[in-house]
Symmetry: C2
Subunit: 227 residues, 2 copies
């Protein structure tokens, strides 16, 4: 990191001498470089939204966090949005009615767009069962910015795992409208990635996502092996 | 940026041999470093919320964007939240009733907290006239994470500038509940910074903010002059 005590002055131009407007109001603001492109140039990678979708227990959060860690080790700016940091904060006013679920995904899409604009590779890990809601999130950004990753574990495997005990409760009727049991999951028709997180080990799932980012030239390609 | 194709494997441990649980479900996840502290160590700076508050025309956005540019030139990860990227996106469902204004600031506080957690210095530039709403945003994070910056230009100067023509409309009764004219502005009682953005030039205002970040050891101090 360079010391910018001199260079930062270059970012603004004071009002010309003799100008009688109030001080500080006639600034010519050179902000062209402090945008998404400028951040990408400075950081050496581009930003994107990695939208993980799938049944409860399909491994969305596990995979998103593993990809996050892999990218972090490469010095790439990332962030994971998931139930832990969204449902208790930004969306704590929302319940699980159809309208509230839709609003939940809408806000997540808007926040993901802000992170995208900030030059961050943002990973969202929510069931997001409805195609229309996911497509609205996709529609907020440009083509190529939105990478939909279907964590396509079979329902039987998700239910067998039942990592949070939710399937048992749903089968017992203690949870209404539970995706896969009493509410539909609309699988993506043409996601950028379709990963069988039911049978494929985590490391190879991570590698599939990383390769996608490299292929889209969002992050640097690996160095060729030394021969 | 290093090639992490080998190093990322270190971030997870596969299930022990002989384990019969489904693949990918018994991962020991070493995520301790992919948190705020880990990001700070990697980037060489800490994160914070810089909450700019003040009357319309007081220079909040101008100052926030100038600080943003100065920090960007030092390689510091930053982002500005303002009306342009919030009111047309995350908060486009909200109007200007008391309840909606409160919800607007609540969401901005929650989003700022996410950026803080992501290791970003996030700058928010909203009038945010009510003390209680700002204090709620402050209460979401730890002491030291929230830096309230009062852009304390006199109302007369803001109205004279009237950069968006809003004061004229408010005086004509075309805008109801306009802060400073027909709705109160509750100045912060003990903000971290109180800057006279009415009479002080932009460059010196920027320097005051930068010095505060250096003094709080959020960003590196400038190199001492070579003697």
């Amino acid at each position: 990191m360079e010391n910018g005590s001199q260079s930062r002055i270059k970012t603004m131009s004071a009002a010309p001498k003799g100008d009688t407007t109030p001080k500080g109001t006639n600034i010519v603001w050179h902000d062209a470089s402090v945008d998404r492109q400028g951040r990408a140039s400075q950081r050496g990678h581009r930003s994107a939204i990695l939208w993980f979708t799938g049944l409860s227990g399909s491994g969305k959060s596990t995979l998103a966090n593993a990809v996050n860690a892999a990218l972090f080790e490469q010095g790439i700016a990332t962030y994971v949005l998931d139930g832990d940091n969204i449902r208790h904060g930004l969306c704590k006013d929302l319940g699980f009615s159809d309208a509230d679920r839709e609003e939940n995904i809408r806000r997540i899409g808007e926040v993901a767009k802000l992170f995208l604009d900030a030059g961050i590779i943002v990973l969202t890990a929510f069931v997001s069962p409805f195609r229309a809601d996911r497509d609205k999130a996709r529609g907020l950004v440009e083509a190529g910015d939105f990478i939909e990753i279907h964590c396509a574990a079979d329902l039987s495997i998700c239910e067998e795992r039942d990592t949070k005990g939710l399937y048992a409760k749903a089968r017992a009727g203690e949870i209404k409208d539970f995706t896969g049991i009493s509410s539909p999951y609309e699988a993506p028709e043409s996601p950028e990635l379709n990963i069988n997180t039911g049978n494929q080990d985590l490391e190879s799932c991570v590698n599939v996502v990383i390769k996608q980012l490299q292929d889209q030239q969002l992050i640097p390609a690996p160095h060729p092996p030394v021969s």
